[in-house]
């Protein structure tokens, strides 16, 4: 029982770190793409070009994968196949958190679809439709991930 609880806590800590890294990754990629496409002459775009945001993002992916491997190597054999563990990792509160996060993301996407066209109309971007799609996607994913993290862990 003690071993299972410790393994469960380790797995949950890793999941939390992975979600935070994923949010950071999506936000970094998204802002990088939006800024460099819609506002190529801005100071922010200059900053991204100077600091190679995509390289940073690629390193983050590598770090997440490495951390995942290390965490999984330490887990006991058949950890995720254990019915008690599987049940506690996907309990009703987790499912409700996911459903609420999905609802928030849906509203955020609707709001974004209403506001973003007006903002992008002033950016004089040659890729307005592409930018609108990207912004909507970024807002949806980020809202889902942040909402889920808040509901599940706070």
């Amino acid at each position: 029982m003690r071993d299972k609880i410790e393994a469960l806590h380790r797995y949950q800590r890793f999941s939390l770190v992975a979600v935070c890294c994923a949010v950071l990754l999506v936000v970094t990629f998204g802002i990088h793409a939006i800024v460099t496409t819609a506002f190529p002459q801005s100071a922010a775009a200059e900053f991204f070009r100077a600091h190679q945001a995509s390289l940073l993002a690629a390193q983050l992916v590598g770090a997440i994968a490495l951390a995942g491997w290390l965490a999984l190597l330490k887990l006991p054999q058949g950890f995720l196949r254990d019915p008690q563990i599987a049940s506690s990792l996907n309990d009703e509160r987790t499912k409700e958190s996911a459903a609420l996060a999905y609802r928030n993301a849906f509203y955020a996407v609707l709001l974004c679809q209403g506001i973003a066209p007006f903002l992008l109309a002033n950016s004089a971007s040659a890729h307005a439709v592409w930018m609108l799609a990207l912004t909507t996607l970024l807002v949806g994913i980020a809202t889902y991930a942040v909402s889920y993290a808040v509901y599940a862990w706070v």
């Binding site: 029982m1 299972k4 609880i5 469960l8 806590h9 949950q12 019915p83 008690q84 563990i85 049940s87 506690s88 990792l89 309990d91 009703e92 509160r93 987790t94 409700e96 958190s97 609420l100 509901y151 599940a152 862990w153």
Partner: protein
Amino acid sequence: MRGSSRFDAAQLKNAVRQHRSARQMTQAELGLMIGVSRKTINTIENGVFVPSTILALKLASAFDVPVEELFSLAE
């Protein structure tokens, strides 16, 4: 849990913490026993999350008490 369920949570009293403490169990042990996370037990005890009937029955079964002894409506 949140939104409309927050009102429900205020209406529900529970004695999960008392029963768990009496048996000297941790939240994690109880969670694993009935197949939920430690956080779920914590939020039930604090009145943040209203469990389903199935989960309430599992808790009652784990403590071997009637479900009415664990959960009741606030006056």
